[in-house]
Symmetry: C2
Subunit: 142 residues, 2 copies
DNA sequence: TATTACTTTATAATAGTTCTAAACTAAATG
DNA sequence: CATTTAGTTTAGAACTATTATAAAGTAATA
């Protein structure tokens, strides 16, 4: 639940100018109680339907990628034709509901720590992500 | 290391006609000692460069998806713009080398069993996949 | 205020993938 | 074996998510 002036500083501190478009996107993404997952398309739709402002799709892409690069968003890839972004930037894992196409955060009550016994020689681990695909009992359960 | 007549039965048993194109793709994918990972593009290139036969890209897509549906291939999604297929259809996890863009299989010596304590109510787990991204020490380590 | 660097925008380009429909071929039928 | 049927391959078009372009606009700076 941040407010406008805080977004201005946040952007300035990141070397990003606080433009009208970026502030609107900040508001939509970060001015909430809970984190959430979205696609670029979700975000574009949200802005065009719920606000009078129009932000070009290119700007939405640019801004989301800029926010990702600055570490304010994480990208989660589920299927090759859809990319999700996550306002929860802490290390966490996901359930993916194949019936609803929704991502659901896991916490440590749900998935224990992943035990990596051996890493590739000469390489550093940049991330560890678990994806648990779920579907209703009556569906195709590949 | 299967041979042609075995591929013919395998395809027939799956309800797929053993066409020249499918048998060639079987040979390229399954007539080897070790499993491996590939993209559609890798496969198309492999066939066009190493064999005299020409298989249309549409057929390669069709066949790879048919093989996936029959459970002879697994699909692994790393990034939204590239989809990998895996001839190793056992449950296993992956390292992804961000420097080389290569997928590397993990076995139980490398990643312990993932402990899922609570699943979503009313849903069945269809898969559990761990992806460990690695990069060389000197790279950007997000 | 004037200058500069960055940003937004519409639109074009790109690339992976899927669709289409005609030609082709394996399997089934008689 | 000849015919019929259903499944398959193919080139190319279409589709869709994403990125590139370059001109107009805006924030920061001098
Ligand atoms: Mn795509
Ligand atoms: Mn794409
Ligand atoms: Zn999340
Ligand atoms: Zn693998």
């Amino acid at each position: 639940m941040l407010k406008n002036s805080e977004f201005v500083s946040k952007l300035r501190n990141s070397g990003l100018r606080p433009t009208k478009q970026r502030l609107k996107i900040c508001e939509v993404l970060f001015n909430r109680d809970k984190t959430f997952h979205f696609t670029i398309n979700d975000l574009a739709k949200n802005i065009s339907e719920n606000f009078n402002e129009k932000i070009s799709l290119a700007t939405i892409y640019n801004t989301v990628h800029a926010f990702k690069d600055k570490g304010y968003l994480k990208e989660i890839t589920i299927s090759s034709d859809k990319s999700y972004f996550d306002t929860n930037i802490t290390k966490h894992h996901h359930f993916y509901d194949e019936d609803t196409n929704l991502l659901i955060d896991c916490n440590d009550n749900e998935i224990g720590k992943v035990n990596i016994k051996n890493n590739i020689t000469g390489k550093k681990i940049s991330s560890v992500e678990v994806l648990v695909r779920v579907a209703s009992d009556t569906q195709n359960q590949d």
